[in-house]
């Protein structure tokens, strides 16, 4: 096994340290500040249970929606397949809070659907989106693309041999999915679902808007109502532990098992034509997913938006700020993630710890970010509170929060470098640095771009860190949407929310198309 070069390794450790500063701050707060919030244990129990149920429901929901649609699109021919192959990933471009706005208004007791049903049928349908199942539904629709993308990539790179062997041994078409494709894609699906669940735990805007009370609610209450950051930090520890367990489980599933193809011969996958009604059924199913995840809530928001006059100068300024922050955030995060991925390649613990910020609830992250920021502000005085310092702080906060989202793809890109390639390079006279530069980096290049796009879109949608750390007059589109939503002006909030979608949808589509072309051996 090759060892990473010392300087790179040190840089990797530094980058990882940077990512966990806010989390360490939470731990320090939890230990040093008194926990004075007066919250009954039964209440905390209910919060924890609701958090767990929500995470579980979203996990199952995204797996069912993501894996089934990925299999359908990879292995079958039906009307609209090439369109859905990339379009199914598009809900990723919409912030979850925007989808929550749309659904909450559409399905409100005074909204159009329930008013219509009441008027025509005279009954009240309990379509309550502001509930635990409702939130699970909205978030599953928003996050299934994580599973869809990873599962699709896995199905695309599966070996035809395994499938054919399966069919020879007598499994049905469904059996090929259930007993061959799915088990082989398990690590990829688990990785996608872990991302979805982590996003759920970390969500700030959507769950708050839908009024579901999770552990995050407890954190916010301890902090804001009881004025007890100590209690808030202790509750946060529970959530951070949950995140750590998730990351551990994801690794555990993968460890010691080989899911790779055994043969290096790549033949095109033979897709199964779905004639007639079955084909239309497949089309309808994909349309349903895309509809629930994006078109229906975003469409309703757009319809609402028409009734409000947008504040164009504010939206334009916010769009510029969002774009700049997202670019800076993406580049810095990917740079740091690259250092970690290359430098600490064999240090699983370092990589996992650096990923923790992603699953940490936004409200917790806000607690944790302020403590190191305070050191900076008070240590360096007036200069540190200036706009430029504020921006740099904010961009580093993005890195701490979103590191996992960049590490994931870069790591899997590097995983394509097999030990034998490594040795071949060394045998051919490359130094360790040379092997990194001329073998690893080029092979991981695609993955690096994927990471850049993912972080770019994530920063566009980011809310809590931006809210608490931004300098004066620096409202992003997400901040603008949140502001209107807090003032219960949904039609106004729709404009910046849809603007995020408009900016994010192009890179997301590009990403989805890229995955669609990713079969090894396919002409590039």
């Amino acid at each position: 096994m090759t060892r990473a070069i010392p300087w790179l390794r040190i840089a990797a450790y530094l980058a990882a340290a940077l990512a966990i500063v806010p989390l360490l701050a939470v731990v320090v707060l939890a230990v040093t500040r008194p926990a004075s919030a007066d919250m009954p244990l039964s209440l905390l129990g209910r919060y924890a249970l609701d958090s767990a149920i929500l995470a579980a429901l979203v996990g199952v929901g995204t797996i069912v929606m993501g894996a089934s649609s990925a299999w359908l699109v990879v292995m079958h021919r039906f009307p609209g397949r090439t369109f859905f192959a990339w379009a199914l990933a598009l809900p990723l471009a919409a912030p979850a809070f925007a989808l929550a706005y749309g659904y909450a208004d559409l399905l409100d007791v005074a909204g159009p659907i329930r008013t219509f049903i009441r008027a025509t049928l005279g009954v009240e349908v309990p379509l309550d989106i502001r509930s635990l199942p409702g939130a699970a539904f909205v978030l599953s629709g928003a996050f299934y693309p994580y599973v869809y993308l990873t599962a699709r990539a896995a199905f695309l790179s599966q070996s035809v041999c395994s499938l054919e062997a399966g069919r020879t041994l007598g499994v049905t078409a469904f059996g090929a999915f259930w007993r061959v494709g799915l088990p082989l894609a398990r690590p990829a699906i688990a990785a996608g679902a872990a991302l979805a669940v982590m996003e759920t735990l970390a969500d700030y805007g959507a769950v708050k808007f839908l009024g579901v009370q999770t552990l995050t609610t407890g954190v916010v209450r301890a902090w804001s109502v009881f004025g007890a950051p100590g209690s808030a930090a202790r509750l946060s520890l529970v959530l951070m532990a949950a995140a750590a367990i998730l990351l551990f489980l994801e690794d555990h599933f993968r460890r010691g098992q080989s899911f790779g193809a055994t043969s290096a011969r790549w033949r095109p996958l033979t897709d199964i034509p779905l004639p007639g009604l079955r084909g239309l059924g497949a089309t309808a199913y994909c349309a349903l997913l895309l509809g629930l995840g994006l078109v229906v809530p975003a469409g309703w928001l757009a319809f609402k938006a028409v009734s409000a006059t947008p504040d164009w100068p504010a939206i334009g300024h916010a769009a510029g700020v969002s774009f700049g922050l997202a670019t800076a955030g993406a580049l810095l995060t990917v740079f740091l993630a690259g250092l970690i991925a290359f430098g600490a390649r064999h240090d699983l613990v370092v990589k996992r710890i650096a990923s923790l910020g992603y699953a940490t609830p936004g409200a917790v992250m806000a607690v944790g970010l302020l403590a190191p920021a305070a050191l900076l502000w008070q240590g360096f005085g007036v200069a540190a509170t200036a706009t430029s310092t504020g921006l740099i702080l904010l961009v580093f906060a993005y890195s701490a929060r979103l590191m996992a989202s960049a590490l994931g793809p870069i790591e899997s890109g590097l995983a394509r470098v097999t030990p034998s390639m490594d040795r071949a390079a060394r045998t051919l006279g490359e130094t360790e640095t040379g092997a990194l530069a001329r073998v690893h980096a080029p092979l991981a290049q695609g993955a690096i771009w994927t990471a850049v796009i993912l972080i770019f879109v994530d920063v566009l949608k980011e809310l809590p860190a931006t809210l608490i750390l931004r300098p004066f007059n620096f409202d992003t589109l997400a901040v603008l949407a949140d502001r209107y939503a807090s003032d219960e002006r949904l039609a106004q909030a729709a404009w910046p929310a849809l603007a995020i979608l408009a900016v994010a949808i192009v890179p997301t589509a590009f990403l989805a198309l890229k995955v669609a072309r990713s079969r090894p051996g396919a002409p590039s």
């Binding site: 919030a37 409100d108 005074a110 009370q213 670019t327 806000a366 706009t387 300098p471 219960e488």
Partner: protein, 351 residues
């Protein structure tokens, strides 16, 4: 190859950060004093406020740099900034939040003849740490077709068994509910307030969810008969051109509770000068501007709040809802009893 990507990425990073900073500098002078600007931290999230700041800039030539966030975040951020906080003025939308900011030591006392002459004594902190600039009442919205005004003449009525499955409210950690509960505890004592909260919970038509406007619309849609709301949300719906809103406003009426008792629960929006303000004089000028006729008319006209300056006449729609007896309790109680209020809600099972 890798080095090239690295250099390119770092260059792009530097350019985008610098570009952003420049774009910010252009209209955000940050902390630089003496350039004709004040730095405002505000927890108010109303569009009307932008009109307010514009009016101030027009009147004085002083620009307003604005940073908006939730009250708890705002307080923690200022704590973290400590002595170096760039804030000159702090505004909050609730007396409880003002009291918490006060407890965190974020204000400095300011007393001027103008402020004293225009703002009633019950609406500011005695030593001038913060001043109220607008008022709102927390009232009962009810279905005119199903409820008679006499049935909703008190807050206690919401716990009456005749409203079983008929009450819509938002969640208990909302600061407007917390302030109401703090006032009730002050008047009634802990035990009666808890019994009331339990009675209201037993009357819930649905679990608490949404904002005040959602509660009013739910009454309009017949999902419940009574709801708690701040006055300006109802007035906003009533002023809307949207047909759905018009129908809601036609079906729903407001009751100002406790007219025969202590008076309706009233809250304030207010603010003060930050403890470490670099631009104290301009900050004071800003506070005084908020009591001017022009500013008071914006509070009333654009956000349907009640002016605090007695001589200012609100527009007709706000005026018609402004003749009521207000609870004279000092608003600082809301902050002092906030944690206790949350505990009572939690014990009662009010989510």
């Amino acid at each position: 190859m890798r080095a090239r990507i690295l250099v390119a990425a770092l260059a792009a990073f530097a350019v985008s950060t610098l570009g952003l900073a420049a774009c910010g500098q252009k209209d955000a002078p940050g902390t630089a004093p003496a350039n004709g600007a004040i730095n405002l931290y505000t927890a108010r999230h109303y569009d009307a406020d932008l009109a307010l700041y514009d009016a101030f800039t027009r009147a004085t030539g002083i620009k307003v740099n604005r940073l908006e966030m939730d009250p708890d975040q705002l307080i923690e951020r200022m704590r973290a900034e400590g002595d170096y906080s760039p804030a000159d003025v702090i505004l909050m939308a609730d007396a409880g939040a003002l009291a918490r900011a006060q407890a965190a030591g974020l204000f400095q006392p300011v007393i001027t003849p103008t402020l004293q002459a225009k703002i009633p004594a019950s609406l500011h902190e005695p030593s001038g740490l913060w001043w109220g600039f607008s008022r709102r009442a927390r009232v009962i919205a009810y279905d005119k077709t199903a409820v008679s005004p006499a049935d909703v003449a008190t807050y206690a009525a919401l716990a009456d068994p005749k409203f079983r499955k008929s009450v819509c409210v938002r969640s208990s950690d909302n600061v407007y509910n917390l302030s109401l509960m703090a006032a009730l505890i002050e008047h009634w004592g802990h035990d009666r307030a808890l019994a009331w909260a339990k009675g209201v919970v037993a009357n819930f038509a649905r679990p608490p969810s949404g904002g005040d406007i959602d509660q009013i619309r739910a009454v309009g849609a017949g999902a419940c008969k009574v709801a708690l709301t701040n006055t300006y949300y109802f007035l906003r719906i009533a002023a809307s051109d949207n047909p759905g809103d018009k129908a809601t406003a036609a079906k729903v009426a407001l009751s100002f509770p406790e007219q025969d008792g202590v008076g309706t629960h009233v809250n304030i929006s207010g603010g003060g000068v930050a403890a470490h303000a670099a631009n104290r004089d301009k900050a004071v000028k800003f506070l005084e501007f908020l009591t001017s006729d022009e500013a008071q008319e914006i509070f009333a006209g654009a956000n349907h709040e009640y002016p605090v300056v007695a001589s200012v006449k609100p527009p007709a729609d706000v005026e018609s809802y402004s003749h009521f007896k207000a609870d004279p309790i000092p608003v600082e109680v809301y902050g002092r009893r906030q944690a206790e209020a949350q505990s009572v809600f939690d014990q009662a099972g009010w989510r």
